[in-house]
Symmetry: C2
Subunit: 142 residues, 2 copies
DNA sequence: TCTTGCCTTGACGTCGGCGTCAAGGTTTAC
DNA sequence: GTAAACCTTGACGCCGACGTCAAGGCAAGA
């Protein structure tokens, strides 16, 4: 099949496929007229790449999986390199979660401090400041 | 004071200060020779900007805070615009936490599946595959 | 044959927050 | 006097994963 068809089947774009090829993932055979030609195996590889992207892996991270599949394995994560990517990425996600958690805490304390300094519900409410604060806080602290 | 001195006092670089000026934050008076001149108020503004950056706000997000300080308020978050930024950013962080959480779950299940498919400790270990899997799993699933 | 729609390569744009280099003018310490 | 250390503007680089546009070749239907 040609690039547009493959892209549509996998839910991506021809531009993305050319980019993957330029990155060394998912090369293609060429027809006589120079058009890229793909088969079902390429569709499998592409779907693997896209699925891993959804899980947060970078394109570079997907290379071991693609190589693993091309080596004849049933799944892309049948190789130790792939599993190491999983583990590394998991650690990165955990680190990011920690950082975001502390950012959230800092933001909350700053917001709380600001609301405490504000006169707040004492003003003749021309909009819903006090109400909004009362409504959003319980939801976000939980 | 001049740009290098201010930068050092705030723990940043002259390049960053010029960038903030180009973004419309933290403008400076000019000395006769064209050098930027800053005072203690500018140091306060700059520290506000940097503190907010640390909490995850973009430069654009810090504008209301700077304007609030320049309007004569004691703190940058004494204005409703600033508080709205807090709330919006908090929502963004929460959304990001949710997404990262589900990414983490997906990664974990993929990793677990891959390890289950692996023969694992049955091979004559030429390196530490089985050991590593056994050691990392309890730590990361917890 | 003509139009439409696919394909090709190449090259620049995006976003944020600066880093880094270039080419010069200024000030300062010795 | 001179070298070091500061300052100025301008411009390009970076990162990731493509989007978008340009200029042209190829294919298929009416």
């Amino acid at each position: 099949m040609r690039i547009g068809e493959l892209a549509k089947m996998a839910g991506t774009t021809p531009r993305a496929l050319r980019f993957y090829e330029a990155q060394g993932l998912l090369g293609a055979r060429r027809a006589a007229n120079g058009y890229r030609e793909y088969d079902d195996q390429d569709l499998r590889l592409l779907r693997e790449i896209l699925a891993l992207q959804e899980v947060g892996l970078s394109l570079d991270d997907t290379k071991p999986f693609v190589e693993c599949l091309r080596a004849g394995n049933e799944t892309g994560d049948s190789c130790t390199d792939s599993i190491e990517v999983y583990e590394r990425k998991l650690a990165e996600v955990d680190a990011c979660l920690d950082r975001l958690g502390s950012l959230r805490a800092s933001l909350l304390s700053k917001l709380a401090g600001a609301l405490a300094r504000q006169p707040g519900p004492c003003q003749v409410a021309d909009h819903r400041d006090g109400t909004e604060a009362a409504a959003t806080n319980p939801r976000e602290i939980s």
